[in-house]
Symmetry: C2
Subunit: 613 residues, 2 copies
C-alpha cells in the first residue's frame, strides 16, 4: 500500500495560469461562454428564484428538484474560481447578487435550504432521501472558493453559520446521521483547512463513521450497506461513491487513520481493475446510476455520468496527494481527457449526462437537464483546473499535468520559483519547462512519466540526462536551480491498440489510444459504412494527422481497416457455428477521432471498441 499519508500539497488554482494550448482553449471557453450560458440556465430553471421566493422577494412555489440549490452553489463556485484568476466586473456583480439572494434565504438559526423552507418541511427529517447535507456541502465549497478568490467573507459567513448549525445538530450524543448523498464530508474538510475549527473535521469524520448503520437507508445504493472500513467493493450510485471516497481521503489526510487508507486503496483497486471504462468513466448501470458488478461494463448502456467522472478526478487527485504515487495521476489524466471532457460540447453549450462508449444517432448532448448536476460541475472543474497541475512537497515541485501554463510557487518563505510550461501536449510530447528562481536554490523537480510512456528524453539546459524511464512514476531532477533553467521533456506519444481483460463485453475487440487520449470511430467520417461493422486488425498502422480545422483542433488517426460482410447473417441473430471470415470492403480508410470530441457533428453511430479482425 502507498504511504506516507499527507505527502503532497497542491499548488492552488489561484496560482496557476493556463494560458493557451489544449486546456487553455477549454478554460477560455469556460470563462467566456460557459459561465454566462449556465447562469442563464439556472435562472430559467427557477433555481435562483427559489432563493428569492424563500426570502419573500418573489412569490410562487418551489420549482424543480428538491436539490436544485446545489446547481446555484456549483455555479457560484465555478464563477469564483474564474474571478480568482481573471477579474471580470460583470461576473462579479452576478456573483454578488446571487450571494445576496442566497444570504437572504437563510433562516435565523443558520439553516439554509430553499426546498425545505418553502415547502415547510421539518429540517433534517429525511436525510437518506432529501439532500439537505449535500446542498450544504456545495454551499461550503462555493463559499470557500469565493473567499479564496475574492477575500470577501459574505458567502463564507452564510456557509459557516449553516455549518455551525449542522455541527451543533449532528455528532456523538446528538443527532445520528449519514447523509443519503455524500458531499458534505469533503466540503467540511475544505472549510476546516480555512478555519481550523476542529469540529468541522470531526463532523466530517463522524458522517463517514456513521455509514453502514442504516442512517442513510442501509442500502448499497447509498454506500450504507456496511461500515465504510468494511466495504469490500465500490458499489452503488457512482457519484455518491466517489464523493464519499474523496471525503474519506480528506479525513484520512488529516487524521492519518490507517484503516481509512487501507479501505481507500482496496476500493480504488476494485474500481480501476474491475469497474472502470477505458475512458475513465464509472457507473455502468442506468438503474441507480450505479457501479455494476466486477467486469460489468456494457459499451452502449454505459452510464458513466459526467459528475461521476468529476468525482473520480477528485478522488484520484486526493490519493495522489496522500501518496505521491503516479498511478493516481494516470487515472486523473485519463478521466480528464476522456470521460470527463466528453461531458461538454466543443462550444460549451451542450452537455452529456451519460457518456457511453458506443451509441447510435440518438445519443446527443442536451442544452440543459431537469436534473442539471453535470453542467455546473463541469464548469467548476474547468475553472479550477490549474489546481490539478502542480504540487509541492518537502523535496520540491511536482508536475502532474502537461500543458501551456505558468505558476509561481513558494517553496518556503525565502524561496520562490516560477514554472513556465510550453507544449502542445497531448497532441505532441515535447514539453519545455522554464524554471526561474530569484536566488540559487536546491530542490527536486518531479516530472510525471505517464503509465503509457515507455521511453522519454530529458534535457536540462540542453544537456541530456541519463537514466531509465519508469512508466507511471515521477522522474526526479535534483539540482541547484538558479536564474533561468530549462528542462525539456520529450515523450513519444504512442498510438496503441488496447484490449480488455477477458470476461468483459469487449471480448475480441480493440480500442485505439494515443497517449492519454482514447479514440473513437464516428459515422461522420465513414459515409456509406455502418461503423459497427468495421474490422480492425492489430497489425493496422494508424498514423496521426494534426487537423487544425477539425473539431476545434485535434489529432486524428488514419489507417486501413476493413468492413465485414454480414449478408450470411441476414435475418439471423443466432446460428450454428461456422468458421468464416467474409470481408465486404477492403481496404477501408478509417479515421479515428478523440473520444471527447464525438457528437459534435451530425448525429450518427459511434464506437470505441472495434471488432478485432
Amino acid at each position: 500500500m502507498s504511504m506516507p499519508i499527507n505527502y503532497l500539497k497542491a499548488v492552488s488554482w489561484k496560482d496557476v495560469k493556463i494560458k493557451s494550448g489544449f486546456w487553455g482553449d477549454r478554460v477560455r471557453i469556460n470563462r467566456n461562454v460557459v459561465l454566462d450560458y449556465q447562469y442563464e440556465q439556472i435562472e430559467k430553471a427557477g433555481c435562483v428564484d427559489n432563493f428569492r421566493r424563500t426570502s419573500g422577494k418573489k412569490g410562487g412555489k418551489f420549482e424543480g428538484f428538491f436539490f436544485n440549490d446545489s446547481d446555484v452553489y456549483k455555479w457560484v463556485e465555478a464563477a469564483s474560481y474564474s474571478l480568482g484568476t481573471h477579474s471580470d466586473k460583470k461576473l462579479e456583480e452576478k456573483v454578488n447578487r446571487l450571494i445576496e439572494d442566497i444570504a437572504d434565504a437563510q433562516e435565523e438559526d443558520g439553516y439554509l435550504n430553499t426546498y425545505f423552507t418553502l415547502e415547510k418541511k421539518e429540517h433534517f427529517s429525511d436525510l437518506p432521501v432529501k439532500h439537505e447535507l449535500y446542498c450544504a456541502g456545495h454551499l461550503i465549497e462555493a463559499a470557500v472558493a469565493h473567499y479564496l478568490a475574492t477575500g470577501k467573507t459574505n458567502l463564507l459567513d452564510v456557509a459557516t453559520r449553516f455549518v455551525d448549525l449542522i455541527c451543533y445538530t449532528f455528532g456523538p450524543g446528538k443527532k445520528q446521521s449519514a447523509p443519503g448523498h455524500e458531499e458534505i464530508e469533503l466540503a467540511l474538510v475544505k472549510l476546516y483547512h480555512l478555519r481550523r475549527e476542529k469540529r468541522y473535521l470531526d463532523t466530517a469524520r463522524f458522517f463517514i463513521e456513521k455509514r453502514g448503520k442504516g442512517y442513510a437507508g442501509g442500502d448499497e445504493y447509498r454506500q450504507d450497506h456496511l461500515p465504510f472500513t468494511e466495504q469490500k467493493e465500490i458499489i452503488g450510485h457512482a457519484v455518491r461513491a466517489v464523493y464519499l471516497m474523496s471525503g474519506a481521503a480528506d479525513v484520512c489526510r488529516e487524521t492519518k487513520d490507517k484503516a481509512l487508507m487501507v479501505t481507500l486503496n482496496r476500493l480504488w483497486e476494485n474500481m480501476v481493475q474491475k469497474k472502470m471504462y477505458a475512458t475513465g468513466g464509472i457507473g455502468s448501470r442506468y438503474e441507480g446510476e450505479a457501479f455494476g458488478k466486477n467486469y460489468e461494463l456494457p459499451n452502449d448502456r454505459a452510464y458513466a455520468e459526467t459528475c461521476a467522472a468529476i468525482g473520480n478526478i477528485f478522488w484520484n487527485h486526493r490519493m495522489l496527494h496522500l501518496t505521491g504515487d503516479a498511478k493516481y495521476a494516470d487515472i486523473m489524466e485519463k478521466v480528464l481527457y476522456n470521460g470527463f471532457l466528453s461531458g461538454i460540447s466543443l462550444d460549451g453549450r451542450k452537455y452529456f449526462y451519460q457518456n457511453p462508449l458506443q451509441a447510435d444517432k440518438d445519443h446527443r448532448r442536451a442544452s440543459w437537464f431537469p436534473c442539471a448536476c453535470c453542467p455546473p460541475n463541469v464548469a467548476r472543474l474547468l475553472s479550477s483546473l490549474g489546481g490539478y497541475f502542480y504540487s509541492v512537497s518537502g523535496e520540491g515541485v511536482w508536475i502532474h499535468l502537461y500543458g501551456e501554463s505558468e505558476t509561481a510557487i513558494t517553496l518556503d518563505k525565502d524561496r520562490k520559483v516560477t514554472l513556465n510550461q510550453h507544449t502542445n501536449y497531448p497532441w505532441s510530447g515535447e514539453i519545455s519547462i522554464k524554471v526561474s528562481s530569484e536566488k540559487e536554490t536546491s530542490f527536486t523537480l518531479f516530472l510525471r512519466i505517464p503509465g503509457w510512456c515507455q521511453e522519454a528524453e530529458v534535457l536540462v539546459n540542453g544537456k541530456s540526462m541519463a537514466g531509465d524511464i519508469t512508466p507511471s512514476s515521477y522522474l526526479p531532477i535534483s539540482r541547484t536551480w538558479e536564474g533561468e533553467d530549462e528542462v525539456q521533456l520529450n515523450i513519444p506519444i504512442p498510438v496503441e491498440f488496447l484490449q480488455t481483460r477477458p470476461h468483459s463485453s469487449n471480448n475480441a475487440r480493440l480500442a485505439i489510444s494515443r497517449g492519454p487520449m482514447i479514440y473513437c470511430i464516428e459515422a461522420e467520417d465513414h459515409p456509406g459504412i455502418d461503423v459497427f461493422d468495421i474490422l480492425l486488425s492489430p497489425d493496422t498502422e494508424l498514423t496521426p494527422h494534426f487537423e487544425s480545422g477539425l473539431l476545434g483542433e485535434v489529432v486524428v488517426l488514419k489507417g486501413e481497416a476493413s468492413v465485414q460482410d454480414l449478408s450470411s447473417w441476414q435475418g439471423k441473430l443466432y446460428r450454428p457455428y461456422r468458421k468464416e471470415e467474409k470481408v465486404k470492403k477492403e481496404p477501408l480508410e478509417i479515421t479515428a477521432i478523440p473520444y471527447f470530441a464525438w457528437a459534435n457533428r451530425s448525429p450518427g453511430k459511434m464506437l470505441v471498441w472495434v471488432l478485432e479482425r
Copy 2:
C-alpha cells in the same frame, strides 16, 4: 408475409392429458405442489385479504402493490385449468371460497378492484399508471378458465358484470383510453369467444386502436409512443409489449385486419432478429423492465423476466394459429424449454423474476416477491400446457409439441380421433404417435419439424415414408386412417455450438444447444475452476449423457475444453494489445447442463456464452 389469417384452432388444454415424460413431471409438480404453495403465498401476502377487506369481512387497509388482485386471479386461472383435467375436491373448495371473496368485493355497478375501492380512489382516474384494466383482464381470463373447467358461471358472472361496465364506460364517443398495462385486450377476446358479444371484441379493438395517442402516457415504456400500426420496433416494458401483441393477434384473427398482421410480423421479426436472447428470453434492461435497442443483449444484466417469456409464448402461439407457420412454433418451443422454464425451481417452490444468461452466486430464485406477477403466471401456463400441443384445421391435425400425451380430437361432428404420443423428447428424438379413429377417415397429420432439425425419419405403420425434411416446417402425412395407426418420427437431436451475430456482446463466444435446449456451464460441476475462464473450441466434441439422478433427470453434455491463464492480466483491466494464448489447464473435462435447470444446486457462477478459444 404469412397468410391466411385464422388458420389453426388449438385443441383445448381440457382435451389434452400430459401424463408423464419431461412435461408430465413438471405438470404434476405444478398440480401437486405449486398450486397449494402459491395459494399459501397469496394468502400470506394479503392479496386475498384485500378482497375480504373490501367486502367488510375483514378489517384493515389495502396491502401490497396496487395491482395485487391480479395475483389472485392468475392463481384462480391456474387452479381452474388443473380442475379441468384433474378433479381435486380440496382445490375446488379453495377456488370456490376465493370466488366468493372476489364476488363479495364487487361494487354495485360491477366495478371490481380492491385497491381502488379500499383506498377510495376515483375509478378509471389514472389509467396510464394504475392497473385497473390489467387486473380486469386477469379476472376475465380466470373466469373463462373457471367456466370452461367447471361449467360454473359464478366467476364468469362477476367478470361479465365488470366487463359490461368497462364496455359501457370506454369506446367511441365515450371515455377514451389505452390501458397503461396491456392485458385486457386479449382477455376481452377470450370472453368474446365464449359469449359472442360483439362489444367485447369491439372494446378490445378500441383499446388497441387508441394506443399512440397519449392516453397511456404517450411513452415508449407503455407502447404509447406511436399508433400500434405505425410502430417500427418492439419497444418498452417487455411484458406489456408481448401482451399487447397477443391481444392484437387475437383481434386480427377475428377482424382479419391486414394492417394488424403486417405490424405483428414487423414487430415479431424485429424481436426475433434483434432483441431476443438465445433462451427466448426478452427484455434486456433492468430500467423499465424493457426491450433494449437492437442487439443490446447483455448476458449478466439480462432482465428476461419470466412473465415476458410467458407473454412471448402467448404471442407465438397466436401467430402460429394465424398462419400455420412453423417459425412461430420454433420460438414457442425455445422459450418453453429455456427462458420460461428457468423461471421455476425443480421443486416448484422458488422462482426467478430475471433470467440472466450469466450470473454469479448471488442470483438465486426467491420463495416469493413483493411484486409476485411471475409465479402464478408460471403456474397458469403449466396447468394449461396441454393447450399448446395440438391444433386442428380444415386439413387435419397438427402436432406442435412432442411429449408423452393423449388427446381426443373432434375433426367434425362425425369424426373423432385419438392421438397418443409416446416419447422421451427432448432427451431423445424418437416419437411414437398412435392415431386411433373409430371409423375410416381421411385427414392430414402435420408433424412439426423443428428449425434445428436437418434430417428425420418417418414411418407409418412401420413403413418408411420417402420425402425431404424441411427444417422449421410441418411435415404432412395425408392418408386414410382407420382403427389404430402408428406414426413414428425419429429426429436426431443434434448438439450444436451457436454463435451470435457480430455487434452483440457475445462476440467470439459460443453457446451450446441440443435440440430445443440451451445449455449452460455451472460452477457446481467444475470445482476449482472459474467457469468464466473456460475456453471452448468449436471443434470440441460434446457427448450426451442421460443422468437419471441429476437435476430431476436430464441429459448433460460432456467434453474437453480448456481454461485460460489470466496471470498476465493480474491487476489489469485494459492493456496494449498483445497476441497470446495462454492456457492454464488442458484438457478440462466440462459438463454442460440444460439452462432451465441452473441454480438448483449450491450457489455459484453460471454462463451460457462461453469464450471461444
